[in-house]
Symmetry: C2
């Protein structure tokens, strides 16, 4: 039976080989003319500079936390392997971010160059680059987990089966923290970077100097392009790397509580492995005839995702049937997870795409000025939470109920966790459909700056707009999986705490717990606010530098070149500095509450943060998405078109929406998972120090 | 011992007599010249028209719900007196709103007239008018509860003491619903009315026609003034009437669960009675010498509130000592409640007043345009939740701990509820310091429209600005007490459910409960969004009418008079229509969740709604307050002053903030209490119909 585990490492290795093949495929493509290469190089250098700087700061954090974890091990408050697994998790996550980023920045000029000839050719390159990100994330995550599982299995081989598994799963539960930390820095730092650059470039370039977007005379333009890669490729990748790892380790831990033993422990690894293979097959469905229009292309992408989903559903059926035939209904938890992900993606698209009524209404409200466009956008974002929260609510209840329900409570909870694994099983390809967008976007920037023919920009714009649609699906998966994963971690946390200590009062009328919920809900607002303020401060530094450069180099004449690297550096430094406070509060929150209010308080804290965080993340992302597309709708010639007062009002909406959708909103995904993970890892410490024994 | 109960009805009667005396005092004051009278009459007629229309619609709702409650009685799902108490609660709340509104609209021209002579004289009238609102709310609420207590006591006199009390408290727990319904309509309908009128008046008057605020040529100007009274006087009054009633009945119910019997049941009534008396004494502290400056006046008001607080603390000590000497520490729960209220008021002021840094920063951010002012305001509102949530968290833990703590769990919970009663004990005067603001505001409008000398407007402006500061304290009490009251109701709900049915799984890992929390958090966003959209729709109707009137009557020439009543009518009709959907969703939410997810789900729903609702209410109110004062700060000549681009940006912030702070934010106070109340009243029904037995 245990050999079923091997699906995971085999799939991981296959996916990494496939990644290598794709990198070779992409590298063989033409980089375009000199000007294209030059711009691509600037972006690549900027991205590298950023990521190096980020990793060097992250390394310090990792060093500090590693020492803290080691001392926890010393005081027997943590299992021995945890500090080391913390490092490998962080390392692999960083590596996947790095590879994804390099390939993405490599691909933009190639995509632009291919767009000279055909839309389809450009799509293949951009999508392959996204696929590299997707597969490297799932491949490295599975590899990391498989290796550790094998190591622990061998170390504890002398123990009886149940005891061994119990130690392994409870140890591995702590393994997500490396990925969590990496994700925090990637999402928060990346989010601040990308939005500060974006806002800075817009304020001085578009508004003050009156030059178009992506104009090479703007010193912040490279930073803006770097930001797209840093935030949307590396940030998104790290976010989902974390969800992926966490959902698997949480499911393994819950399997033991559910009494499913080795079979239940292997199941999530096997499903994940099957999903990787399905994603690779799905990649080959993404083909389209020459001369395809945008709708055909969208269906080409969807064919890939749906194809992979069907394959994983078939494979999973046999896996479940083989591993736990007496609990075959758990299979439906996987189905429910996948369907919920797709539905959330659909609702996200409905509320943010300008082909539907809500965003059209936001556009329309821009006619009466910026205030009404803001109110309407906020209202749209808020109302969009209703169908999405209800979807996740139904998914939780159903996946619990089909797996075991109240008569088999622990297996029911295991079912919820399996739904998260199911939702993320096709991550290889869903992430690709999200991560290819920034490549297309950058290709457009490249075409613009290197002054290509209009048709090139038109084609890359078509790809970019297509990317916005598929990104909605990707965001749906990211946000939905974050909620389910965090919930699974919460349950696992409770189990861990119960294993160690006598009494936990989990009841809602326990004041410690209810105060925890209050504070959890508040922390979501506090965290969002810190990030928005950070972007404001960072953006104003960019604005200053860009203004100075315009004067210093007389850029508007077009003779001198701006010092792109300087702006990138300022962005980088500010982002790194600004991410420290939000990061610290996310990490210290559960520890402080644990010490003050005990385990009960932490449970409340997590419940409050997860539920409010989920709602606020949807609200902020969708309000931002809607403002963005409402502006584009006006720019497409509606309600007065570009340059009209309506357009100006819509731009205000878009500017407010930027930090909402690309920084604060997605960072909440990280916040809720990280807080859960920190609670688990520091459980021993908080209980030792808690003032309420 | 039981005669201690008499403090409540005696205090109620005294307060009503005092109200009568004050009404006579105010009525004797001079109404001013013909023009002043005329304008005051228009506002009064408008307010009357609105309130009549509102009550006629509310009457229909009450009729329908009364019949539903009667049928629940018929199926033995509710105690017999509940439908009747529902009516009396609604009736008394409506009556206090009506009286407060009439007196407030009566006082505006008198205040303006008094301001011709002195600031202090104007303050006395305006504050007395606020005091009428404050005392009529507490007087009628206490009277209603006392009468019912006496009736039930007499009906069940043949039963043994414990059984009798158990029936009485469990019956009276349902009595808050009449007040809750009334509050919902007053706050939501009133909020929509006032903001639609405000936005409508501003858009056409200030922006399009370029005439100043409160210009009599603007047809919406009377509606705007009516709105202040409707929203801030009647709405606020109904909100606090509800908190006041609910906190008392919840405490009575929790007394039985805590085994405190008759003494614990009487305690909240006695404290409330003492508070009424203390408020009346406090009123006499609000005096100031002639020629006092604004700071003196602020201290005059504060002397009133602090004086009343000290008196109630002294009286309460003897009450607790006399009634439950063995639990004398419960006294500290009262102290904690009062201190928490004051602290929340202080933090509210800190984040919203332009004398402190946060609002100055919002002002400053207006220099870079509307987008940055919006982002900064949102961030400020969000961050303001931190100290306030922490304050309420500490208050919950401490009031629980001093009363009983974990060793005496139920008495501890009783302590939390007593803290709510303590916080609201001085409501008579804290509400006065809030409700007097709109009177001053209207007096200013009256002075402007009737073209008084500049000094008159200056004095009323000074009063108005003073009102803004004290209103922050009032809002702090409203919001803090709503959270504590709702929490007490949640505990009471659980107790009621446990008394009737065997098993409730209150644990956080129960999927029904956790899904309930998700949906509760979501409902807060959904509800806010409905209200904001409603205001948008209503405002656009006003805009249309005002535009038509400008053409129809050639108003800008100043020869013809606008048809104020028509605009008021449109406001009224839209507000009434628009409040139905939010109202229905607040009422049906707990019932539907109860049927689908059972009592566990409802508990989660309430916990989610209370915690997220509290955070969002603070966020929205304070963001709105900060934008408002940031605009005023610019208007005072900072960052370019009136007419500058900075000012325009600040106006956008203020316009976005209006529905935040005066409609959506405060409505959340109602939402969380109403949902708790509906859960209690429909407990029998939902359990009978629930699909999860």
């Amino acid at each position: 039976m245990e050999y079923m585990f091997l699906i995971a490492p085999i799939a991981a290795v296959i996916s990494l080989i496939f990644v290598a093949a794709m990198v070779i495929y992409i590298n063989r493509k033409d980089d375009g003319d000199v000007s294209m290469k030059e711009i691509a190089l600037a972006v690549k250098e900027g991205a590298k500079a950023y990521i190096k700087k980020q990793y060097s700061i992250v390394a310090i954090f990792f060093g500090v936390v590693f020492i803290i974890l080691l001392s926890l091990v010393f005081f027997k408050l943590l299992p021995i392997p945890v500090p080391f697994a913390f490092l490998t998790g962080g390392f692999f996550s960083a590596m996947s971010g790095f590879i994804g980023l390099i390939v993405a920045t490599n691909s933009s000029s190639k995509t632009a160059n291919a767009a000279k000839t055909s839309l389809n050719g450009a799509l293949r390159i951009a999508f392959s680059s996204g696929m590299v990100m997707g597969l490297v994330v799932v491949g490295l995550a599975l590899l990391d987990l498989s290796i550790w599982y094998a190591i622990l299995n061998s170390v504890y081989r002398h123990l009886p089966m149940e005891e061994k598994l119990s130690i392994i799963t409870s140890t591995m539960l702590n393994f997500g923290m490396g990925a969590s930390f990496q994700a925090l820095f990637a999402r928060v730092g990346g989010g601040i970077f990308t939005k500060a650059a974006d806002v800075g470039a817009d304020i001085v370039g578009k508004v003050e100097a009156g030059i178009p977007e992506d104009d090479p005379r703007n010193p912040a333009v490279i930073a803006d392009n770097v930001g797209d890669n840093v935030g949307d490729v590396a940030g998104m990748g790290a976010d989902l790397y974390e969800s992926y790892t966490d959902s698997i380790v949480a499911t393994m831990a819950l399997a033991m509580a559910a009494g499913l033993s080795i079979k239940g422990v292997i199941l999530p690894l096997a499903i994940a492995g099957a999903g990787v293979l399905a994603s690779i097959v799905g990649y080959f469905f993404v083909k389209s005839k020459e001369g395809a229009n945008q709708k055909n292309l969208l269906w080409a992408l969807r064919r890939g995702i749906y194809g992979a989903s069907i394959i994983v559903l078939i494979l999973t059926y046999f896996i479940v049937r083989f591993l736990i035939p007496q609990h075959i209904t758990i299979y439906f938890s996987v189905v429910i997870g996948l369907i919920a992900g797709v539905l959330i993606g659909f609702f996200t698209e409905y509320f943010t795409s300008d082909t539907y009524k809500p965003t059209k209404m936001v556009s329309k409200s821009a006619q009466t000025g910026p205030a009404t466009v803001i109110i309407e956008g906020i209202a749209t974002g808020m109302i969009s939470t209703a169908p999405i929260v209800i979807t996740i609510g139904i998914a939780i209840i159903l996946s619990f109920w089909v797996a075991g329900g109240f008569s088999d409570f622990e297996i029911g909870l295991y079912g919820i966790s399996v739904a998260a694994v199911g939702m993320l099983s096709t991550l290889g390809i869903t992430l690709a459909s999200d991560a290819y967008g920034p490549v297309a976007d950058n290709a457009g920037g490249n075409a613009q700056m290197s002054k290509q023919k209009a048709i090139v920009r038109e084609r890359t714009d078509a790809l970019d707009s297509l990317g916005n649609t598929t990104a909605a699906t990707g965001k749906g998966f990211a946000i939905g999986s974050a909620a389910l994963t965090a919930l699974a971690l919460l349950v696992a946390y409770k189990n861990e705490a119960m294993m160690k200590f006598v009494s936990i009062d989990m009841s809602l009328t326990n004041p410690r717990l209810i105060v925890g919920i209050f504070i959890g809900a508040m922390m979501v607002l506090w965290f969002s606010s810190l990030i928005m303020k950070a972007i404001g401060r960072a953006a104003s530094k960019i604005v200053q530098d860009v203004r100075i450069q315009f004067k210093e180099f007389k850029l508007l004449d077009g003779k001198n070149k701006p010092d792109y690297a300087r702006t990138v550096k300022i962005c980088t430094t500010s982002a790194q500095k600004e991410m420290i406070l939000p990061a610290l509060s996310a990490i210290l929150g559960p520890i402080v509450i644990g010490i003050l209010l005990g385990v009960d308080g932490v449970l409340g804290l997590l419940a409050g943060a997860i539920t409010t965080g989920f709602g606020m993340a949807i609200f902020m992302s969708n309000a931002g998405g809607s403002w963005d597309n409402a502006k584009k709708f006006v720019e497409a010639g509606n309600f007065g078109g570009k340059g009209s007062d309506t357009h100006k009002a819509a731009v205000v909406g878009d500017t407010v929406g930027d930090p909402f959708k690309d920084a604060a909103g997605p960072s909440l995904n990280i916040l809720i998972k990280l807080m859960s993970m920190v609670s688990i890892v520091f459980l021993g410490l908080t209980v030792a120090l808690t003032i309420f024994k």
